[in-house]
């Protein structure tokens, strides 16, 4: 990396952050608290004026032990939209994503500070008194590598509904069918629901994981590089599926594939070294980035 780049990284200073935040937060719909709410009127009011905020990240810091992995992040996640997190590897995309469903709680010596407020009820996802299971009941996740359970296709999808207390063959079957249809897998699988999930192809396995995530009726689904283990055809199907899912659910997707971000997402956040460099509507980020760093990254000059 060149020294010119380094000087561009100073997004932490007040002026820059103020401007970054401007794009981040809408005024409409919800009364967003504090300084953030006061900003903006032009930026978000154009084409996105109908969208509501599903979640707000406010002053979020995250630590792995002493390592400060996320630094004072502020951004709003819009309801029933796809938000892409991009940035060079190691910049904290997965770390941020995994804050939303409290995955970090599985490992010792991790610490959150700040807030992620989930609307409509205003639950602080990373609040100290909040049970991670409560959070995960509302926010699902699809991982980088398809990770179906070593069970039948049916049992994989029924896993979430069962955890949520749904019993009885008919109720479960209805849930499984609905989720598999939602994940565009029903036609391929309806005659082999009892087959082991590992007999599906990689792309089908990933759609099964999406079905599994859908079956628990989540408000938000987190995708962590969901297509990086898949071939181009399977990748396109997943992207298509994500566009369809947007009707029903809010999506946050980590990707290091710039084309994917520009193809599927409505909003894009560019991160670097644990900080949010720029956030805005996807066309704006890709066509008229405000920061030199963003421009350099999306044009492939580093990262």
């Amino acid at each position: 990396m060149t020294s010119a780049n380094v000087s561009n990284l100073q997004v932490g200073n007040a002026g820059d952050r103020q401007r970054a935040v401007e794009v981040v937060v809408p005024t409409h719909g919800r009364d967003v608290s504090g300084t953030i709410a006061a900003v903006d009127s032009r930026a978000a009011s154009s084409s996105q004026s109908a969208s509501l905020v599903k979640a707000e990240v406010r002053g979020l810091d995250f630590y792995y032990g002493k390592f400060h992995a996320l630094k004072n992040l502020n951004l709003a996640i819009y309801d029933k939209k796809i938000t892409a997190l991009i940035g060079p590897s190691g910049c904290g995309k997965s770390t941020l994503l995994r804050c939303f469903n409290r995955m970090h709680d599985l490992y010792p010596d991790t610490k959150y500070s700040g807030e992620i407020v989930l609307h409509p009820d205003g639950l602080n996802l990373v609040g100290p008194g909040i049970d991670p299971i409560t959070v995960r009941m509302r926010i699902s996740m699809v991982f980088q590598k398809p990770n179906p359970f070593p069970k039948s296709i049916f049992e994989n999808v029924a896993f979430g509904p069962r955890l949520r207390g749904i019993k009885g063959k008919d109720a479960l079957e209805a849930e499984v069918q609905r989720a598999l249809k939602g994940a565009a897998l029903w036609e391929e699988c309806k005659d082999r629901l009892q087959d082991n999930a590992y007999r599906l192809s990689g792309g089908q396995q990933q759609r099964l994981c999406i079905a599994r995530a859908l079956a628990s009726d989540p408000e938000v689904i987190l995708f962590d590089e969901p297509t990086s283990a898949l071939d181009p055809v399977a990748t396109l199907r997943i992207e298509e599926l994500m566009r369809e899912l947007r009707e029903k659910v809010t999506i946050i997707v980590v990707t290091h594939n710039m084309h994917q971000a520009s193809r599927v997402s409505d909003y894009t956040a560019f991160m670097y070294l644990g900080e949010l460099v720029e956030y805005g509507e996807t066309p704006q980020i890709f066509q008229r980035p405000k920061k030199t760093m963003t421009e350099e990254y999306i044009s492939g000059r580093f990262g």
């Binding site: 469903n101 995955m103 599985l106 299971i133 995960r136 009941m137 699902s140 996740m141 991982f143 590598k145 990770n147 179906p148 359970f149 070593p150 069970k151 896993f159 979430g160 955890l163 949520r164 590992y198 994981c209 599994r212 995530a213 628990s216």
Partner: protein
Amino acid sequence: MAEPIAQPASAPQASGVSTPVRARIDRRSVPISERVIEFGLFLAGASGVLVTVLIVGTLVYEAVGYFREVPILDFLTGTSWGPQFVPASHGVLPLIAGTLVTTLVALLVAVPVGTIVALWLSEYAPTKLRESVKPVLELLSAVPTVVFGYFALLFVIPILQTMFGWVGYELGGFNMLGAGLVMGIMIVPYVASLSEDAMRAVPKSLREGAYAMGATKFQTCVQVVFPAALSGITAAYILAVSRALGETMIVVVAAGGQPNFTMDPLQQAQTLTAYIASVAKGDLPVGSIGYRAIFAVGLTLLVMTLFFNVGGHWLRQRYKEAY
């Protein structure tokens, strides 16, 4: 040490420096050391196979001699065992019953306890604790089984006698229950250690998948980790069965010394192994019917062990997961 050029790892380098043709010629021109090593490895492998074949051959040869005098059907269906007595009786069922009962009692202890210990070690115990408990467990499997035998006879069975005394039952000083329980304790470390390895080999991504759905730790363990590790856990159970079937000293010391055709674990009885051990003290003339009976019993044990192993292997294949 062979010439570096003879080692496959350095071959690409050699071909990079010189021409590929030359590298190939070099490989062919220095094969003697390779051949010696290959032959040595072959001998080592073959001797293992040979010893096994010899053992099985001896067993079968002597057993065939036995079955010339004793009809195999009588052997397999007779309910009284005493080939060295007059008149002799040649029914192996009492020994099989003794073996199955002690094995069953042992498995009833070893399988659940071993599995729970493994689950706890793999999923619940803090890393530091696990790292100190595992060696202790493995140390336990280094205790000679004769020690376990006397532990059964002098410690466990008296306690059992007292407890059965409370309900008015007079338990004998030798019984299959006490021997089986201690045998189970002896096998716990094997089951726990192997099952723990299997559970820890379950990829993190599966656990995270379960947690991400909102599962608790216990639900993750029972519904995802355990089934995913089932193939390896089955291997642990197979080993447990083999150990229990073949265990000798504990039953010799604590289960009693007389063949007894019963499925009641509160009775004393003799197992297949215990019979072999107690008779094979060298006072039976080679070639006598009593001597040959040992081999027939040994062959029976081998077949039983093989049967359970093959069955277990089949189960393993069924549950094999390619995560």
